[in-house]
């Protein structure tokens, strides 16, 4: 087991940027490309089909979310965070709300905590399902996409019933939840868990032992645990490289310490391990949801927070385990109603930095697989 604290920063040999070598083919992948998951532009330097190096050009989806935060009150900024990782909007909201709660020194009531966990884990499921569908589609298996979207729909239905929105939910408020859950929420969640368990087996049936899938994913985009830590890569990518690091266990937030679950890890740090880790994580999420839905306590869903929030001068960094990795919010308050600075540490952005390392000496087709396996969302990369 690698101790994260002892690893020194990675020294990536940067290739000289002479694009003039006659044997090299420079290819622009994106920003309009079906497999770059949004508007990522990758400049590939190819030797035949082998990738000699690549450079990511980002910023096509930059909306200045962090700057917007400086001109909004704490409450007003809450919906904006949903637009970063729009696939896992609930996680974004959770991170932001908890960061501000930390700043205000309030704590959400236990009932809200439980519902937050349920919704966040449901969202993790949804995010992983979407990842699986698109990743498999990139590798050429078109069918899992439709299976996962069919099942993700059930999650979105629960979200819709709960807050009226399906994607950018704005589910949480600073200090708890705005709404009490609707009648039958527990029943819906329970039936969803029952519904989706065999479906995960179904996905695995299509892919896990499929020869072509194995050939396309095993040994592709290998990254060692050390490199992961040196690059700051987190989430399933890090865990698939054999580092047991999950913020839900390492620095428990919300009330994750009340639940029993495992941290699935891989060994080889290749695309296949990342696939297995995410599949296992879906099952662990279901485990958490099952426990949480059994134990929802009664009580209020909103803590006492002032109508006009003026947190004391200071700064706070709060990070949670989003589906894609460590999602951190660094909020600086100058005592006014608006944050002085909000800095988001988006997992997608940091994980994307590993792309060059993971794609070196692989083939063009592997770049697609690796982009897929990194599970990036460009809304979060560019913010």
């Amino acid at each position: 087991m690698i101790d994260p604290k002892t690893v020194s920063p990675l020294d990536l040999d940067t290739p000289d940027k002479t694009f003039l070598d006659a044997n090299e083919l420079v290819i622009n992948m994106g920003p309009q490309h079906p497999a770059t998951h949004g508007v990522l532009r990758v400049i590939l330097r190819l030797d035949g089909e082998k990738v000699m190096g690549l450079e990511c050009v980002i910023g096509y989806l930059h909306r200045g979310v962090e700057k917007i935060a400086e001109n909004r009150t704490y409450t007003m900024f809450n919906p904006y965070v949903d637009r970063m990782d729009y696939v896992a909007a609930v996680s974004n909201g959770l991170g932001y709300c908890e960061a501000i709660e930390k700043l205000l020194s309030v704590e959400a009531p236990p009932r809200a905590q439980y519902i937050r966990v349920i919704l966040t884990e449901l969202n993790r499921m949804a995010s992983h399902q979407l990842w699986l569908g698109t990743h498999a589609l990139d590798i050429g298996a078109i069918t899992p996409l439709f299976y996962t979207f069919r099942d993700r729909e059930e999650i979105l239905k629960i979200f819709e019933k709960y807050c009226g929105a399906r994607l950018t939910t704005h589910a949480f408020r600073i200090g708890g939840l705005q709404y009490e859950v609707y009648d039958g929420f527990e029943k819906d969640v329970r039936s969803f868990v029952k519904f989706v368990k065999p479906k995960i087996d179904e996905y695995e049936e299509l892919l896990t032992t499929n020869r072509i899938w194995l050939e396309r994913t095993k040994g592709v985009g290998v990254i060692s645990g050390k490199d992961c830590i040196a690059l700051g890569v987190t989430g399933p990518v890090l865990r698939a490289s054999g580092v047991q690091w999950d913020l839900r266990k390492a620095q428990p937030y919300a009330n994750y310490k009340n639940f029993e679950f495992d941290i699935p890890t891989g060994k080889n740090g290749d695309t296949y391990d990342r696939y297995l880790v995410r599949m296992a994580e879906m099952r662990q999420s279901l485990r958490i949801i099952e426990q949480a839905v059994e134990g929802i306590p009664e009580g209020p869903v909103m803590a006492k927070v002032p109508k006009v929030m003026k947190p004391p001068v200071g700064e706070v960094y709060h990070s949670i385990e989003a589906p894609k990795g460590e999602l951190g919010y660094f909020v600086v308050s100058d005592g006014s109603t608006q944050p002085y600075r909000v800095r988001v540490r988006p997992p997608s952005f940091v994980n994307l930095q590993a792309l060059d390392l993971m794609c070196r000496d692989q083939l063009v087709a592997d770049v697609i697989a690796v982009i897929g396996t990194l599970d990036i969302v460009l809304g979060e990369v560019d913010r």
Binding site: I142, E215, A365
Partner: protein, 441 residues
């Protein structure tokens, strides 16, 4: 006038000769038109079926709007494609860009000259039939390469190079499998032959489909061919040249409208063509199932009723679904359309029951049914498999299929030799083998 009518009728009096073999221009033209129209209809039907079957595999409905159950969708698409602007990129080599789709379509359609739909239902019968089919179908590589090159863009070029490398590599394995089947023909009464009709007749004489001959050699050869033919037609899981997620659309990225639809047409006809080769070589071509075990007039009659029954069954399904249609007035036209379609199918089915027709279309029906099974396999693959990577694809072709194919060739040769027909078999087969082996270049 009478001479012309006499000329037309003279072919009908002949037996077991293709129009090409008879040298009858009129009937050859009729057959060419029939094959052309039939192929176009088959491609349209295939398009619709692929979308529907794939959709049902993927828990969705597929086209439902244009016509009942989207039956008219391919026609709507065709109209759309024909009306679309034909864009030629500014930097493209206009002439080559313009010609490339035609090369592909020509190659894909020309092979049907020798496809035997029945003992006399082929445009012609060449004594180099299978060589002709492999050769002409390999010409489509030229169209693909030139299409990719003429687009003057990176993605099409890579797609074209991938595609041609793939087709050239898999032709080798394909050729080896074919040669092993040709070797088997030499055990028939007339000796070894490359003629497509001769191959099927050889299977009839030997009372065995080549699939089961020399078990397991026939099955292995068929397996090699079945894998190679998917790669040859650039379909999933070997659809790298058009790997959408990697190369957007491969060699036809820059094509639009009519010219794009030509590539589409060529792809599907090529699928039908290679399936026809597989059916002819290993699955007994037009021969009905169990011609030996279930022979006799009763069984003959029973099997000759199958085509009509199949159409009647389809018609019944149409009527069943008509009954299930929503009763809302909005659906009235669709309901009527579906009923009409069912009536059409039923009518065809009834016509197929007529004794005269029954005997003539038998062969064509069984051939088409076997090819249709392959078409379903193609769709099934597409719904199930991820895509191979390029190096893995090459590895499968050169390091797996080719050695197996060579070993298979030797084994088949030895087995055939045991039957003491050295002169008739090994030599032509060996010659054909070398001819095909040289495809390495």
């Amino acid at each position: 006038m009478n001479a012309i009518i006499d000329y037309i009728q003279s072919y009908l009096r002949t037996k077991d000769v293709t129009p090409g073999g008879d040298g009858n221009i009129f009937w050859a033209t009729v057959y060419i038109l029939l094959v052309f129209v039939g192929l176009s209809v088959a491609v349209i039907a295939m398009n619709w079926l692929e979308r529907k079957i794939l959709a049902h595999m993927q828990v969705r409905l597929g086209p439902m709007r244009v016509g009942p159950h989207g039956l008219l969708q391919p026609i709507a698409d065709a109209i759309k494609l024909l009306l679309k602007e034909d864009i030629i990129p500014a930097e493209a080599d206009a002439l080559v860009f313009w010609v490339a789709p035609f090369i592909v379509v020509l190659a894909a359609f020309t092979v049907f000259v020798v496809v035997p739909f029945g003992p006399e239902h082929a445009i012609t019968d060449m004594n180099i039939g299978i060589l002709f089919m492999l050769g002409v179908s390999s010409l489509s590589v030229l169209g693909i390469v030139t299409a990719g090159w003429a687009s003057n863009s990176h993605y099409p070029l890579i797609g074209a190079l991938r595609s041609s490398a793939q087709m050239v590599s898999y032709e080798v394995a394909m050729g080896l499998a074919v040669v092993s089947a040709i070797m088997m023909t030499s055990l028939g009464e007339k000796g070894g032959t490359l003629s497509m009709i001769g191959i099927v007749e050889s299977q009839y004489q030997q009372q065995e489909w080549f699939l089961f001959k020399f078990f397991p050699l026939g099955v292995i050869a068929f397996g090699i061919f079945a894998i190679a033919m998917v790669a040859e037609t650039n379909r999933a899981p070997f659809d790298l040249p058009e790997a959408e997620s990697e190369l957007t659309a491969g060699f036809h990225t820059e094509y639009s409208g009519f010219r794009w639809s030509l590539f589409f047409l060529a792809e599907y006809s090529a699928m039908i063509a290679v399936s026809s080769i597989a059916v002819t070589l290993w699955l007994g071509g037009w021969l009905r199932p169990f011609p030996n075990a279930l022979s006799g007039p009763t069984w003959e009659l029973a099997f000759s009723l199958v085509p009509g029954l199949a159409f009647v069954f389809l018609a019944a399904m149409c009527f069943y679904n008509t009954a299930r249609m929503p009763k809302h007035p909005l659906f009235r036209i669709q309901t009527m359309g579906l009923a009409g379609f069912g009536a059409l199918l039923g009518l065809i089915g009834i016509v197929l029951f007529l004794p005269g027709v029954r005997e003539r279309v038998q062969d064509v029906f069984w051939f088409a049914a076997k090819v249709a099974a392959f078409m379903y396999l193609y769709i099934w693959y597409r719904g199930t498999f991820p895509r191979y990577r390029f190096d893995q694809l090459m590895r499968v072709g050169w390091k797996v299929l080719l050695p197996i194919g060579l070993g298979l060739l030797i084994c088949t040769g030895l087995w055939v030799m045991r039957v003491e027909v050295w002169h008739e078999v090994i030599v032509p087969a060996w010659l054909g083998c070398i001819g095909l082996l040289r495809r390495i270049f």
